[in-house]
């Protein structure tokens, strides 16, 4: 009684401590949830700053939708559609327009002597050519820039400058007040929407998605038009609806399966309730570990750490099946066994004292922890978090199963049904037969597995686009929109700097570098807002050219004078205060880097992006860009794919290290022969699960490797229990229940339409089947034990 009280008090004391610690660190620490996959990469300071810059520049794009209409009644359909869209509460029509040419010309007039086009710069030292140039501008039938600036800037440098720079932004034509583009002789009317979805709420995304699609379908049905639409919201809504459907359908099926399993074996739902309590406490421990050791929890950690469920459930089943207060009337095995066994003859006994399962549980826990310990020192934050979550969570689960559950009165009323024990007995008999032939079985499997790996080596493909679960229609829409708006092969270059002047100068250097590839078309803010250094230089050139009389003859033909005024620089502040601010906001922004202690750069930085089209960047340009620390090509898909490759490679090596550690533990505990016997099922089940997954999927990804975390943890538990208890029917029963429940919960995911989930589920399914079949082969079963058991049954 005293021991009972002490043990339980100790348990509740430490549970309280854990809760208090968790609450303390949660409340007092600067803690947050992170969802950005790239933030988990072991990035340099520069890469982290560039990540933040890209987020600042492009985060709004995720809230944008573009719709393109074409057809005979396109304009009418467009107008009706715009009216309906503007009535939606979360939708804002984006009617971006440049100011009028006159307004633009008036804005730039004070800086006319600083702003020269490249073409003008070529002629600036050649009076005859300059005269011809001025004349050619004057005789143009319709040049609104010449008309609006000739009075104040008759040298026509400003007219040519504006004509050149604004040319880049003139892709959209206005027809009957409607923006449109013409591609391959087909006119598309373009509508751009901004969505006000608070915090990327999935529910709101789904709602907006339905509203938009309803309007689009209605317009298509009413008018003779074809509509193309694109936007992140459509993909998000589809993926979340798909996930919800699968969670509800698979989740319900799994739950029903588990309930049926538990009811049929225990004729009670108490095991389910106790498992849920144990799992909740385990998760609480896991989260406490995270908030103690880290300042953020990445959502992917929870995805990876879902494997905790499988292992904690395994602990619980061992406890339920082996409870000492099991009802003797319901236990055929107990009625057969009239003698109380001695505790060291476990393999001959159908009845296992509950205290006896503590040892293999603890050993299994230690072995699993050692396996996960390697992940803790991974340079990848995600794997460190998974390790901490799993170790703390398993510790909580273990303590609950060994210290709390034995004192729960319900546990005493949980009995195993006779048919279940009878089935377990049959399992034992079959396992005995397998064990007797295990050398042959192992040899055969090793040959087959090695052979299949030689013929079809494991092939990993980390391209994140392969993990996209969007339907074909959405993907086709995205591709068509890229054609319509001509950004199919566009690349973006992001530049960062501490000051605006530095940023603009760096931009000019990039453009200078890229011009070595003449097929490139470069679009950005550079033309409309040159650096002050460039403006000063050009002002000086105009001044010198005027002194040399370069413009004399040209101006004489029109009888005007264009004196060079005092230098006045066009500044970023003046630019953003003008009507061109909308363009400024599109291409250039300020961002903060003070969210993380690891970043030591100044608090505020500036960033801009350049759009590069016309051709792919050649090798020289790509090499030059990779050598720059303050800029990079923005390619989210490639960056995520690279990070997935890094994770996968790291995980692979850490899993290999975990296998080695586990092997050493088995060697130390069970000796060389049994150590090898224990390792073989673990290794073979891992290889078989990956090979079969590759056979069905074509190639593997990180989520297949992730499944090995669960298979490894379960395999360790199964092997240790078989090593400790041999082929005792209750051990077989507990492991069978664990395998079936894990298959029901995780294996069902093999039927998901989401590639990542499907990969995980398929590997888990194959792995569980393999380890369930192979784990008994690791038991230390002797022929004498078979004889003793057979004679026992015959008596």
């Amino acid at each position: 009684m005293r021991n009972y009280n002490k043990g339980l008090i100790a348990y509740f004391l430490q549970l309280t401590l854990v809760v208090l610690l968790g609450v303390y660190f949660l409340v007092m620490g600067e803690w947050h949830v992170q969802s950005n996959l790239l933030s988990l990469l072991p990035s340099s300071e520069n890469e982290l700053v560039l990540n933040k810059a890209e987020q600042a520049l492009f985060k709004d794009k995720e809230q944008q939708v573009i719709i393109a209409l074409s057809g005979k009644q396109a304009i009418k359909a467009y107008q009706t559609m715009q009216k309906q869209l503007s009535a939606l509460p979360m939708v804002e029509l984006n009617e971006f327009q440049l100011p009028s040419l006159t307004e633009i010309s008036q804005f730039y007039l004070p800086y006319k002597d600083n702003l020269l086009s490249e073409r003008y710069l070529q002629y600036i030292n050649e009076p005859a050519v300059m005269t011809q140039f001025i004349t050619s501008q004057l005789i143009q039938m319709n040049n609104p820039f010449v008309s609006s600036t000739i009075a104040s800037a008759p040298r026509l440098s400003l007219a040519d400058y504006l004509n050149t720079e604004l040319n880049l932004f003139n892709n959209v034509e206005i027809v009957k007040g409607t923006p449109s583009v013409v591609i391959e002789n087909k006119r598309y009317f373009i509508s751009q929407l901004n969505l006000n979805i608070a915090g990327f709420s999935l529910k709101e995304s789904q709602k907006v998605n339905h509203q938009l699609l309803h309007i689009i379908q209605q317009i298509e049905a009413t008018y003779d038009v074809s509509i193309t639409y694109s936007g992140v919201v459509f993909h998000t809504a589809y993926a979340s609806e798909q996930a919800e459907f699968e969670i509800s359908s698979f989740g319900v099926l799994s739950l029903i399966g588990v309930i049926i399993l538990i009811l049929s074996v225990f004729r009670s739902l108490k095991p389910l309730l106790l498992s849920t309590i144990t799992l909740s406490i385990a998760v609480l421990y896991g989260l406490t570990g995270i908030v103690i050791f880290f300042e953020e929890l990445h959502l992917l950690t929870l995805v990876f750490a879902v494997t905790l469920i499988g292992i904690v459930i395994d602990y619980c089943f061992h406890r339920f099946v082996c409870d000492e207060n099991a009802d003797s009337n319901s236990n055929i095995s107990i009625s057969i066994n009239t003698q109380q066994p001695s505790s060291d003859k476990v393999s001959n006994n159908y009845y296992i004292k509950p205290s006896i399962i503590n040892k293999p549980l603890v050993l299994g826990f230690i072995t699993t922890v050692l396996g996960y310990f390697g992940l803790f020192y991974s340079p990848l934050a995600l794997l460190s978090q998974v390790a901490v979550f799993m170790i703390f969570g398993l510790f909580g689960g273990l303590l609950t199963v060994t210290m709390l559950l034995p004192h729960v009165k319900w546990l005493s009323r949980i009995t195993v049904m006779p048919w279940a024990l009878g089935f377990a007995k049959k399992m034992q008999q079959n396992s005995i037969l397998f064990v007797q032939k295990r050398n042959v079985i192992y040899s055969g499997l090793l040959v087959v597995t090695a052979g299949s790996l030689l013929v079809a080596p494991l092939n990993f493909n980390d391209d994140v686009r392969l993990l996209n679960s969007s339907p074909q229609l959405l993907l086709e829409n995205e591709a068509k929109m890229a054609d319509i708006l001509n950004y199919k092969n566009n690349q973006r270059i992001v530049v960062i700097a501490n000051t605006i002047e530095e940023l603009l100068q760096r931009q000019e250097q990039v453009i200078q570098q890229l011009k070595q590839q003449p097929t490139l078309i470069i679009k950005g803010i550079a033309g409309l807002l040159p650096s002050q250094k460039k403006q000063k230089l050009q002002y000086q050139m105009i001044k010198n050219a005027t002194k040399q009389g370069v413009f004399k003859q040209g101006l004489a033909t029109i009888g005007l004078v264009d004196a060079v005024g005092d230098y006045k620089a066009l500044t970023y502040q003046e630019f953003t205060a003008s009507q061109l601010n909308s363009l400024a906001m599109l291409y250039i922004t300020k961002f903060s880097t003070n969210e993380s202690d690891t970043i030591k750069s100044s608090t505020n930085n500036f960033t801009l992006w350049l759009d590069v089209s016309g051709d792919m960047l050649n090798a020289d340009n790509l090499l030059w860009l990779t050598q720059q620390t303050d800029m990079r090509v923005f390619d989210k898909a490639a960056q995520v794919s690279t990070s997935l490759t890094s994770y996968r490679q790291n995980l692979f090596y850490l899993l290999a290290a975990a296998f080695v550690l586990v092997f050493f533990v088995l060697l130390i505990r069970y000796g060389v022969q049994q150590g090898v016997m224990g390792l073989l099922p673990i290794a073979l089940s891992s290889m078989i699960s990956l090979s079969l997954s590759q056979y069905f999927l074509g190639q593997l990804n990180i989520f297949n490797l992730l499944a090995l975390l669960l298979i490894l943890a379960l395999a360790i538990d199964y092997v240790i229990f078989y090593q400790e208890h041999g082929l005792a029917p209750r051990t077989c029963l507990a492991i069978m229940l664990s395998a079936i429940s894990s298959a029901l919960v995780f294996g069902m995911l093999a039927f998901s339409s989401t590639p990542a989930v499907q990969s995980f589920g398929l590997t888990v399914m194959f792995g569980i089947i393999a380890i369930f079949i192979l784990a008994p082969l690791s038991s230390r079963y002797r022929h004498s034990d078979v004889k003793a058991e057979t004679s026992h049954l015959n008596n």
């Binding site: 009028s100 040419l101 006159t102 073409r119 002629y123 050519v129 011809q132 140039f133 004349t135 050619s136 004057l138 005789i139 143009q140 039938m141 319709n142 040049n143 609104p144 008309s147 609006s148 000739i150 009075a151 008759p154 604004l166 040319n167 003139n170 892709n171 034509e173 206005i174 027809v175 009957k176 007040g177 002789n185 029109i558 009888g559 005007l560």
Partner: protein, 215 residues
């Protein structure tokens, strides 16, 4: 005496009859003039424009005078043009310097003595309007403009309906002689204007060298 009276009477009758005829003729003339006036008053600018001879393929010469408010004299240029409604327009200036404007299906391109051919965005619409006017494509003009009578009876004023054109031009006057386009005047908001005198003749097909430039 009697003979003289009869003769006088005859003369009086003759004069009276003729006077009546004269009056009738004059009245008829007045009536006719009135009818003619009424006919002139009921012919609207669109109807007038519709009388423009359609020229799907043509060549011609032009003289352009650009009047800037700040300049005392206009900037004069001359050259030749070719167009095919299906292919596009080539506007080639010879004086005072050589330059070429090419309106192709793929866009508007400019080339002059000092620079190679380059695409000009944003000016294609205006150039297309010019080609519609030159070719007598009234239906296309109706989509872009509303019409009113000009100060000159042989001219029609086109007022842009679209913001894009309205930002560039205040009005465009098309003037005709013998139902053929003789001149175009572009009036800008700034007060500047461009007058283009044109002499067109129909073609059966474009010269190969010209159609090659429009491919």
């Amino acid at each position: 005496m009697k003979i003289s009276a009869v003769f006088l009477g005859f003369i009086i009758v003759f004069i009276t009859m003729n006077a009546a005829d004269v009056i009738a003729i004059e009245q008829a003339a007045i009536n006719n003039n009135s009818i003619g006036l009424k006919e002139v008053q009921t012919t609207g600018p669109l109807e007038q424009l519709k009388q423009l001879i359609s020229l799907p393929l043509a060549k011609g010469t032009f003289e352009q005078r650009k009047y800037f408010t700040v300049l005392k004299q206009p900037i004069v240029s001359t050259g030749e043009l070719h167009f095919d409604q299906e292919l596009g327009l080539i506007w080639q200036t010879h004086y005072p310097i050589s330059s070429v404007l090419r309106l192709k299906k793929s866009g508007l391109y400019m080339q002059d003595a000092v620079s190679a051919e380059r695409e000009v965005k944003g000016a294609g619409t205006m150039t297309q309007v010019l080609m519609n006017a030159l070719s007598g494509n009234v239906r296309a003009l109706e989509n872009e403009f509303s019409f009113q009578s000009s100060t000159q009876s042989t001219c029609i004023s086109l007022l842009p309906k679209e913001n894009l054109l309205a930002n560039i031009m205040q009005t465009i006057d098309l003037c005709m002689v013998d139902n053929k386009l003789s001149s175009i005047v572009l009036f800008e908001h700034s007060g500047n204007r461009t007058e283009i005198d044109i002499n067109l003749s129909a073609l059966n097909e474009l010269p190969e060298a010209i159609s090659a430039q429009l491919q």
